[in-house]
Amino acid sequence: MKLPHNDQSSEHKPDLETHIPDIIEHLQRLFTDAPDLVIRKLSIMQTGEAAVLAYLDGLTDKNSINKDVLYPLQFIGGGGEPGSELYVTVGHIVPYTTWSHIIEALLNGDSVLFVEGRSECYALDTKGWPQRAIEDPQLEPSLKGAHQGFLETGSQNIALIRRYIPNRELKIKQLAVGKRGPASVSILYLEDVTNKEFLKRLEDRIKGINVDVIINTGELVEFIEDNPYSLFPQLISTERPDAAASQILQGRCAVVVDRSPSVLVGPVNFMAFFQSIDDYSTRWSIATFLRMLRIAAFFIAAFLPALYIAVVSYHFEIIPMKLLITLGESRGRVPLPPFVEAVLMEITLEILREAGVRLPAPVGQTVGIVGGIVIGQAVVQAGLISNVMVVVVAFTGISSFILPNYDMVAAVRLIRFILMILASLFGFVGIIIGLIVMIEQIIALRSLGMPYGIPLAPMRFADLKDTFIRAPLWLMNKRPISTSPLQNRRQGKSRFQEEEEEKKE
């Protein structure tokens, strides 16, 4: 991966030796205790010059070095004079004259060819590091969408997005983050659509990062998020190229971090966390239903245990008579107060979930079954937990699973515990206070400076077409206002005319 090093190049004067033994000595001095550095001496057949090829074993593609560099140099004669152009069958060749560039090129997987007597050396693009194949996204599987997920190689990820937007207006701003191991961070946007304000804000924030190394996208988010203290995620990280492309087309920016399989999207609003890419590939009626379901599930997952606590310890007058008798019977045998009971069960659920994530898939299933039986049966039979509580926990668990975004699920998990504490202290009043604070938080938050509550607060009626409901695609001719795009219109009248109407004409 080529990195921008404009700021460094001006400081460094050419300091490359011309004599091969000097170069080898310099290399060995720079890379002490680096047994993966390969230094290969050879003589070039075309010009008869002595040369040295250096590369880091493992970061380079052996095949490419053997076939495209060593073979043409050593066995194909050309009759060129010393100092003339060399023939290698590698696409990308950059001449360098300073050691700092050479080191960077080596560390990024290029092989560097030094030739006796020349003042420049050549970095050959022979990158080839260990890389997995393209797989189905793990966190965001889709039924009808594409089955390609992002990889750990930034350039590949950009290519995956470009496949969806083959347009020259798709621009890429490349930045480097990290002093010790610079990771290339690319901002993808549509030049004629994306609002430059968001772009500038994103760029400034990323430029302001001064760290050793960025290992993952999640680390980047912490540095550029608007309010890191808030429980709500303010940027979406996705591992789906189609989702990222769709967001770019709506006027948002995507941030691809090299070495990380997830791509950041911003600015986003609260309701965006309830949208899934599958919404657009299924029929609009079922997509609308699923959206409503997700919103309901959000509230169930956040509020149900708190409601249970509030009702059982403060407001049992609202329980219908028949439920009162069943509830009373099951509560009567439980030795724990409702709050302790609920917290215990919710923590058990969290432990089970975490155990399932960390274990390999076959064992994870066993944990699920064992946990389900232990919680569902034994705990109730032993009289430790009431069976109504088990139903409540199961409901919250299932509800939190249908939310499409992992970060939002994580937020809901924490909100649930806060609400449970409030409910145990103040009953319904506490829950209402929690709800008010939550709404206030959503209104006050910003994502890259865009209001997080948009299109509900501030109200943007046009965007409601794709909020609670997912209107038919041919009705959504404009890009969302909330991203304030430069180009408002994204499509013209696309639905064909009804046949009967044609006959009349």
Binding site: E317, I325, G328
Partner: protein, 375 residues
């Protein structure tokens, strides 16, 4: 930012420390929630309280705990109730309030219910039910083949009042009827038959001060609900048609219908120093049971006025009954106040007496909609 965080955290800590929690936290399992309470007078005219509380346990065969005590007031009785029940007694889940017949012979018992309205924690959606007989009998009956008494009573009252066969008076509605000058209270009525069966017998009508005045059967209750415009379509009435013959012990002269559309119009006027009420009833009904031979084409037009006449005479009899007992369960006073305010204002404090002097003009229009799929 750090300052703000610190401020928020300290505020949260302060709130949690100072307001440890609401004072009225009470877990369900620590509470004792009577579902029914009743009041009656004993032989010495002392107020007796009865409550029925469900017991939440699988190991105890009997599902409810009945408490009985002689009390001065309801709130004062809380100590007595607590002393006899496993948890803190809460009046939040009452389903029915039972009132004994001896109590109904006295005025002012509705004032004894003050705590129900004044302590907002107490429910006001419980149905008020008059017991035709001693309260101790119904409270301690506990028939083995029936659900808990409150569940049973609430269920019976709900279904009966859905069919308009009794009224469905909640505690709050009773409070309104008691303090509203233009109406007198009416509550559901149950009784214990043969010392083992509980049944709804209709409606108990109370005087302005809450004393027992009269009782209505099922059919009269339906007509009362119709006059109050509370009867929904689906109520069923049965009449014997004069001139049809009976066969042995069987009432083969009867006819039943289910009303589909009921429209009641009441018009008020004041003439010759008396209130006049024009009551127009329009009923469209499906015949659901006809015991005698019947020809649709010929008899339809004849039957309609006959049934209308029967309805009319029964309503008139009912109104006479109200006038005789000086009561106004329909709430004619509300109409009088709305349309004849000047005259009403003069008599509003003795409205029931004024009503007994009023004139009613009843007219009934009856249409047969359908006669069923048999000939």
């Amino acid at each position: 930012m750090k300052f703000r965080l610190l401020l928020t955290l300290s505020a949260v800590t302060l709130i949690c420390v100072t307001t440890s929690s609401c004072y009225d936290q009470l877990n369900l399992e620590n509470a004792s929630t009577p579902l029914a309470f009743g009041m009656d007078l004993n032989e010495d005219n002392q107020l007796e309280l009865y409550t029925s509380t469900p017991i939440f346990s699988k190991n105890i065969r009997k599902k409810s705990l009945e408490i009985n005590a002689t009390i001065r007031t309801l709130r004062q009785s809380k100590a007595v109730q607590n002393a006899q029940s496993p948890g803190s007694t809460q009046g939040r889940n009452f389903q029915v309030i039972l009132v004994g017949k001896r109590l109904l012979q006295h005025e002012g018992w509705i004032q004894m219910l003050d705590v129900i309205f004044r302590d907002a924690r107490n429910t006001v959606t419980d149905r008020v039910v008059a017991v035709d007989g001693a309260l101790s009998e119904i409270m301690f009956l506990n028939p083995e083949d029936q659900p808990l008494l409150p569940v049973l009573l609430r269920g019976m009252i709900t279904t009966s009042s859905d069919n308009a066969e009794t009224v469905s008076t909640t505690a709050q509605e009773l409070h309104r009827q008691y303090f509203e000058k233009g109406i007198t209270p009416s509550i559901s009525q149950v009784k214990v038959k043969d010392h083992k069966r509980i049944l709804v017998t209709g409606t108990t009508l109370l005087t302005r001060k809450g004393r027992y005045a009269a009782s209505l059967g099922y059919q009269e209750s339906i007509l009362l609900n119709t006059l109050q415009k509370k009867a929904k379509s689906g109520v069923s009435l049965t009449y014997s048609i004069p001139g049809k013959s009976k066969t042995g012990p069987f009432d083969t002269d009867t006819l039943s219908f289910t009303a589909q559309k009921i429209a009641t119009k009441i018009k008020t006027s004041y003439q010759q120093s008396r209130f006049q009420f024009d009551i127009k009833l329009k009923i469209a009904a499906d015949l659901t049971e006809v015991m005698f031979p019947y020809n649709v084409l010929r008899d339809n037009k004849q039957l309609e006025p006959i049934i209308a006449g029967l309805l009319k005479s029964q309503i008139e009899k009912l109104l006479k009954k109200f006038q005789r007992h000086n009561i106004d369960p329909v709430g004619f006073g509300l109409y009088a106040r709305a349309y004849q305010y000047r005259e009403y204002k003069k008599v509003q404090d003795r409205w029931a007496e004024a009503l007994s002097d009023a004139v009613f003009h009843v007219s009934v229009e009856f249409d047969i909609n359908a006669i069923g799929p048999v000939k």
